[in-house]
C-alpha cells in the first residue's frame, strides 16, 4: 500500500518536473523570438535572402514537400509565407495537410494571402482550382511550384472507395496471381490521385510527431522533420529543416 503511494507520488513528481522544464523552455523561446523576430505579416527580403543564400548549397532537396498544418495554431499568413519560401527554394510541389479540417474551407483566403506576399517575387505558383500566379525575374531564379491541399478524406477514405469500386468492377485492375501485389494496387491508386510525386518530406510542428491520417499509401518513404516544438513557423526553422533533410540517407531496403 505504502509502496504504491510512493510510486504514484514519484510518477506525479516526474511529470511535474518535466512540465516545468518544458514550460521554462517555451517561455524562453517565446521571449527570445519576440525580441528578435520580425513581426511583419508579409514575406521580407531578409527571408528570401536567407533562403537564396543557403538552399542552393544543399546536396539534396525535396521534390514534394508536405506541411502538416493545424488551423488552431497556424494562421493563413504563416502558410502563405511557406508557399513563397518553398517557391524561392525551388521546391516543385508543396502540399498542405489539413489536420484540423478547416483549411479546405479557407483556400480562397490562402490564395489571396499568397498573392499579396508574392508581389515582387519571381516564379509561377500553380493551384489546382485557382488561376496561376506569375512573376518576373529580378536577380532571383524563377521557379515553378504546384500547391495542393489534402485532408483526411484523401487518405483512408479514398483507398476504401477504390477497393469498393474494384469490387463492383467499376475500375479495371491487373491481377496476375492469387493475391494482388503492391505494384498492381499502386496502378489503381495512382489513377485516383493527382499525378504528383510521393511526398519526400513532411514538416510538422508541435511537441509530437503524428501523421493524423496523411496520405497513407504515399508516405512510405517520407522523412518526418520537426519545424518547431511550439508551432511557430519561421524562415530559420524552414531552412534548418531543409538542412536536416539533405543529410538523410535513403537506402531503399538494401
Amino acid at each position: 500500500m505504502l509502496s504504491r503511494l510512493l510510486r504514484q507520488f514519484l510518477f506525479a513528481l516526474l511529470h511535474l518536473i518535466l512540465n516545468f522544464i518544458v514550460g521554462a523552455q517555451n517561455v524562453y523561446c517565446r521571449y527570445w523570438l519576440k525580441k528578435h523576430s520580425l513581426q511583419d505579416y508579409e514575406v521580407t527580403k531578409t527571408d528570401l535572402k536567407l533562403i537564396v543564400k543557403h538552399i542552393p548549397k544543399l546536396s539534396k532537396q525535396p521534390k514534394h514537400l508536405v506541411v502538416l498544418s493545424d488551423s488552431d495554431y497556424h494562421s493563413i499568413d504563416d502558410l502563405a509565407r511557406m508557399v513563397i519560401w518553398s517557391l524561392v527554394a525551388g521546391i516543385p510541389f508543396l502540399s498542405f495537410y489539413d489536420v484540423s479540417g478547416q483549411l479546405s474551407y479557407q483556400e480562397e483566403k490562402l490564395f489571396n494571402a499568397v498573392e499579396k506576399n508574392k508581389k515582387g517575387v519571381p516564379g509561377c505558383i500553380k493551384w489546382s482550382k485557382k488561376p496561376d500566379l506569375n512573376g518576373y525575374t529580378n536577380g532571383i531564379p524563377a521557379h515553378k511550384i504546384v500547391v495542393n491541399i489534402f485532408s483526411c478524406q484523401n487518405g483512408r477514405s479514398t483507398i476504401t472507395q477504390c477497393i469498393k469500386k474494384m469490387c463492383e468492377e467499376k475500375i479495371p485492375y491487373n491481377r496476375k496471381s492469387d493475391q494482388i501485389t503492391a505494384q498492381e494496387f499502386d496502378d489503381v491508386i495512382s489513377a485516383v490521385y493527382p499525378s504528383i510525386p510521393d511526398p519526400d518530406l513532411a514538416l510538422f510542428s508541435g511537441p509530437v510527431c503524428c501523421t493524423h491520417g496523411l496520405l497513407p499509401w504515399q508516405i512510405r518513404l517520407t522523412e518526418f522533420i520537426s519545424l518547431s516544438v511550439d508551432y511557430n513557423l519561421s524562415v530559420e526553422s524552414f531552412v534548418g529543416a531543409m538542412y536536416k533533410y539533405s543529410k538523410c540517407d535513403q537506402r531503399f531496403g538494401t
Binding site: 511529470h15 469490387c167 493475391q179 503492391a182 494496387f185 509530437v208 493524423h212 499509401w217 538494401t254
Partner: protein, 284 residues
C-alpha cells in the same frame, strides 16, 4: 533460460522505475522499427551477421521489459520485402537466423506458454523459403491460445503489400458473396489487415521515416524517433519513449458502441478461418 524472453536482465532499480512509469498510462500496443544492426556491426568491427544476432538479443530483452510494463501487444519490423534486394549472402544469413530462432521458440514452447506470449507473423509468407514458412506456421498455431502478450513479427512485409492483400481478400469475399460492397468501410479494411493500430511507434538509429511499415495503421500513432542504434537500445530509451507518449498521446477514443453489421462480423470470422487453414496447409 528462455532465448526469446531474456530473464534476469532487469535490476531492482530498473524494475522500480518501470513500476513508477506503469502508474500512468502505458501504450496498449507498441511498434518497433529495429533499425541499426548493420551500423552497429560496422561501429564495433564485427560482421553483419553478428549485428543481426545482437539485434535479436535486444529484441528478447525488449520483450521482457514490455512484459514487465504490462504492454499487451508488441509489433516488430524484422524483415521487409525490400530487404530481399540485399546480397544473397545477407538474405540467406537472415533467413537462417529466423529459422534458428523460430526453431528455438518451438523447442522452448513450454516457457513461452508460461510467459503467455502469442506469436503472429505478418507478411507475404509465400515469399519465404518453404522450411521457414512451415516453421512459422507451426509457431503461430502452437501459441495461438496465449494471451498475456501478443508479439507480431512483420516478416516479408511492407505496409503497401499488406493493404493490397487485404484488398484481395475483400474483393474475393465480394465475389464469393461473403460480403456486399455497401458494407466495405474503413473499419472493415482495418480488421482485414494483418496488424492492429499501435499507440506508439519507436524507430531507432536516427532515421525519421516509416519505410513502408504499417502505413494504414499509424494515422493516430505517436511516432518517436531516437538516434540510438537498435542493439544499443536500453530500458531508459524505452522509458523515455513511454514518458513522451504519456505527455503527448491523444485521449483514449471511446469504444464504438454501434453494433457491427452481422455480415461484416461473419466475413471477418470467415477470414480468420481461411488464415488458420492456410497455416495448416503450410505445415503439411
Amino acid at each position: 533460460m528462455s532465448l526469446w524472453i531474456k530473464e534476469n536482465c532487469v535490476s531492482f532499480f530498473q524494475l522500480f522505475c518501470i513500476k513508477v512509469i506503469k502508474t500512468g498510462r502505458v501504450p496498449q500496443h507498441i511498434a518497433f522499427i529495429m533499425d541499426g544492426n548493420r551500423r552497429y556491426a560496422k561501429k564495433n568491427s564485427v560482421d553483419k551477421s553478428t549485428g543481426h544476432h545482437k539485434g535479436f538479443d535486444k529484441l528478447s530483452e525488449t520483450l521482457k521489459w514490455c512484459l514487465d510494463l504490462g504492454i499487451p501487444e508488441v509489433t516488430v519490423y524484422a524483415f521487409s520485402i525490400e530487404n530481399f534486394k540485399r546480397s544473397k549472402e545477407e538474405v540467406d544469413a537472415l533467413m537462417e537466423l529466423a529459422r534458428e530462432k523460430f526453431q528455438n521458440l518451438l523447442d522452448e514452447i513450454d516457457q513461452i506458454d508460461e510467459w503467455g506470449v502469442r506469436v503472429h507473423v505478418a507478411g507475404r509468407l509465400s515469399l519465404l523459403p518453404e522450411h521457414l514458412r512451415s516453421l512459422v506456421s507451426k509457431v503461430m498455431l502452437a501459441t495461438k491460445d496465449n494471451n498475456r502478450l501478443c508479439l507480431n513479427i512483420a516478416y516479408a512485409y511492407t505496409g503497401r503489400d499488406e493493404i493490397s492483400r487485404a484488398a484481395s481478400r475483400i474483393i474475393d469475399g465480394v465475389k464469393e458473396n461473403k460480403i456486399s460492397p455497401e458494407n466495405i468501410d474503413e473499419e472493415l479494411i482495418s480488421q482485414s489487415l494483418d496488424l492492429g493500430e499501435p499507440e506508439l511507434l519507436v524507430r531507432t538509429s536516427g532515421e525519421v521515416r516509416l519505410s513502408d511499415f504499417m502505413l494504414w495503421q499509424i494515422s493516430n500513432t505517436v511516432l518517436y524517433f531516437t538516434d540510438v542504434l537498435w542493439p544499443e537500445f536500453t530500458i531508459w530509451n524505452l522509458l523515455a519513449a513511454i514518458i513522451h507518449f504519456q505527455r503527448n498521446a491523444p485521449p483514449i477514443k471511446a469504444e464504438d458502441t454501434n453494433e457491427t453489421a452481422h455480415e461484416k462480423e461473419e466475413f471477418l470470422k470467415y477470414l480468420e478461418q481461411r488464415r488458420a487453414q492456410e497455416l495448416t496447409k503450410y505445415i503439411s
